[in-house]
């Protein structure tokens, strides 16, 4: 295995982790199930590529624009479905995810801007996207997001989201605005997916709608469940494991997804909270304890200073 090959897996793990982090907020913490996350990745990818290729904007702006457009779409979807009781949200995400893919499948663009030609050709997608996603950049982005997410879920906002997952009525009766917290979770996970979409596009160098089939969405969800719902560490472990595993186990081939499906069923029966069981690997906490011991200084912490590392 060459470094080039390993680097590829690492970059893929990074942007997948970003998507999984977002899904973890949505499914693992707030308890909402999305079948259409690949759609948000798709729209983020296309928007960022249009920004960098058609409008010559910097890579960072492209990523941000992709994330924002995806977030606005997520907010719109939330606005329609989150007030409804029942599985509407679930079915709506399925519909929206597929609809986004199908729109890009039928979309033809041929722009000439400042003498440059930009082609978006339906199912053939966009070719020769500049390769701007390096391992360094991905790692920096993903570490920032892991830390920010773990801070967020360790605040009252994260606790309110968990309360919704645990018992929505009790959460409402505790004065928690369940709608706005679901919206927050939806917007954040769409934002993460959008940014990751931009990273993905600038890593592969091309974009095609068929990269965002529904099976992709379910794979992301499997990573959240595998690592453990309600645990950021779990998402990190689950993603890294499941991203690297298929590459290592190429020989298993088609049976990989059979195993995944089976694993999900078994996890739900035996250990529904997944690998980490809702717990966190609290590196910050241990570091703090160690330093305090060394300095013989007692500093009452308001807790929740824990953070996880990305790799």
């Amino acid at each position: 295995m060459s470094w080039y090959y390993i680097e590829g897996i690492l970059i893929q793990s990074c942007y997948t982790l970003l998507i999984v982090l977002g899904l973890s907020i949505l499914t693992g913490y707030t308890g909402m199930f999305s079948f259409g996350h690949a759609g948000f990745v798709c729209i983020g990818g296309y928007v960022s590529v249009i920004c960098t290729m058609a409008f010559d904007l910097p890579y960072a702006v492209g990523l941000l624009a992709g994330g924002l457009v995806s977030m606005i779409l997520g907010a719109g979807l939330g606005r329609i479905t989150l007030r409804l009781k029942g599985d509407y949200f679930c079915i709506a995400t399925l519909g929206v995810g597929e609809a986004i893919r199908l729109i890009f499948n039928n979309l033809q663009l041929n722009w000439s801007i400042n003498g440059k030609n930009f082609m978006l050709d339906g199912a053939k997608g966009i070719a020769s996207v500049p390769l701007k996603t390096t391992f360094g950049i991905s790692l920096v982005i993903v570490v920032i997001f892991v830390i920010a997410t773990s801070f967020l879920v360790n605040s009252k906002h994260g606790r309110c989201m968990l309360a919704i997952r645990e018992n929505e009525l009790a959460a409402q009766m505790s004065g928690i605005n369940t709608f706005s917290y679901k919206m927050l979770a939806m917007c954040m996970s769409a934002l993460y997916a959008g940014i990751a979409g931009g990273m993905l596009a600038h890593y592969f160098g091309y974009l095609q709608p068929k990269m965002f089939m529904m099976t992709k969405s379910t794979e992301y969800t499997i990573m959240v469940i595998f690592g453990g719902m309600g645990s950021i560490t779990g998402s990190v472990v689950g993603t890294v494991l499941l991203c690297a595993l298929p590459e290592l186990l190429r020989a298993v081939g088609d049976w990989r997804l059979v195993f995944y499906g089976l694993a999900v069923i078994v996890i739900m029966i035996v250990r529904p909270m997944g690998l980490m069981g809702g717990k966190e690997l609290r590196i910050g906490y241990y570091v703090n304890r160690l330093t305090r011991k060394l300095l013989k200084k007692s500093d009452p912490l308001p807790g929740g200073d824990e953070e996880e590392e990305a790799q």
Binding site: S155, K156, L162, E166, N167, G175, G303, D305
Partner: protein, 294 residues
């Protein structure tokens, strides 16, 4: 009878009616709860007690009537209301606040079939419910250092307060030693106490308790009643309670409202209600099989 109880009206139900399809679960119920009171709602199973709780807290939409909280604020108004003489006055739109909105105006409740945040620790259950005491936003929750301008360090200062408050509440309810336990693994009686602690974390004016002593033995029940009184005095609460344990109700409450088949049957002090022939017949049944439990 008691200087705790003031004339200020905390909760007022007027001509409250709830229909599910053709079934009238609650029909034309009116009562007022005064500040500082322990007001008991009793009646046989299926009399509509929990439905009234769900109407007050906005879980169900009102069919008719009006519910007022803290005098001026209308939390729900059905399609029809009544004037002082009981005549119907049609008005424009029915009004119904969202449950979380109602609760954040100063109410908290517990549930008949305990509803905890099951896979969270005892500590976090209460900490979660303290959320209204902290107002840091998403971005402020990302700043974890002590250094920085005041508006940025909100997380640290406020979170410390929340934790102190949680600790105090858990100690009052006597479940501090269980703080790191997962709520679902807690003994049944302690789960009920945890639910009350969680409700208190919302710093309510009005506390609604739905059968807090269900499944407890007589000693535990009386101990719980003492605890409820203590908490009421300490936090200056008004308590609306549904209970089946007659001894608890008769000794603990200031006023009792009796419901039967969704209709008001009687209202008064424990002594008055105890001597009401209708109540004795409808609620306790015939003399021979009256055992104090419905």
């Amino acid at each position: 009878m008691n200087e705790r109880i003031r004339d200020e009206i905390v909760l007022e139900l007027s001509h409250v009616t709830k229909r599910f399809g053709g079934l009238t679960a609650v029909g034309d119920v009116s009562f007022k709860v005064r500040k500082g009171e322990i007001f008991a709602l009793i009646g046989p199973n299926g009399a509509g007690k929990t439905t009234i709780f769900n109407l007050i807290t906005g879980v169900y939409a009102l069919t008719e009537g009006e519910i007022r909280f803290l005098d001026k604020c209308v939390i729900a108004r059905g399609g029809v209301t009544y004037d002082a003489d009981g005549a119907q006055i049609p008005h424009g739109k029915a009004l119904q606040l969202k449950p979380y909105d109602i609760m954040s105006k100063g109410m908290a409740r517990t549930f008949q079939n305990i509803r905890l945040f099951k896979s969270e620790t005892v500590f976090n259950n209460v900490l979660t419910a303290c959320h209204a005491d902290a107002d840091y936003n998403v971005f402020q929750s990302l700043w974890r250092w002590k250094a920085g301008p005041k508006w940025l360090t909100k997380y640290r200062t406020q979170e410390a307060k929340l934790r102190a408050k949680t600790e105090e509440l858990l100690k009052i309810m006597g479940i501090w030693k269980y703080r790191d336990m997962i709520a679902a693994n807690l003994p049944y009686g302690q789960q009920r106490k945890l639910e009350i602690a969680r409700a208190l974390a919302q710093a309510p004016v009005l506390l609604l308790l739905d059968e807090p002593a269900a499944g407890m033995n007589p000693e535990e029940t009386m101990a719980l009643m003492e605890l409820i009184k203590e908490v009421r005095d300490r936090f200056d609460l008004t308590v609306l309670i549904i209970e089946h344990h007659m001894d608890l109700i008769m000794s603990g409450s200031d006023r009792i409202f009796v419901l039967n088949f969704g209709k008001a049957l009687a209202e008064g002090t424990p002594a008055e209600v105890q001597n009401n022939a209708e109540v004795v017949e409808a609620y306790l049944g015939k003399e021979e099989n009256a055992d104090g439990h419905a």
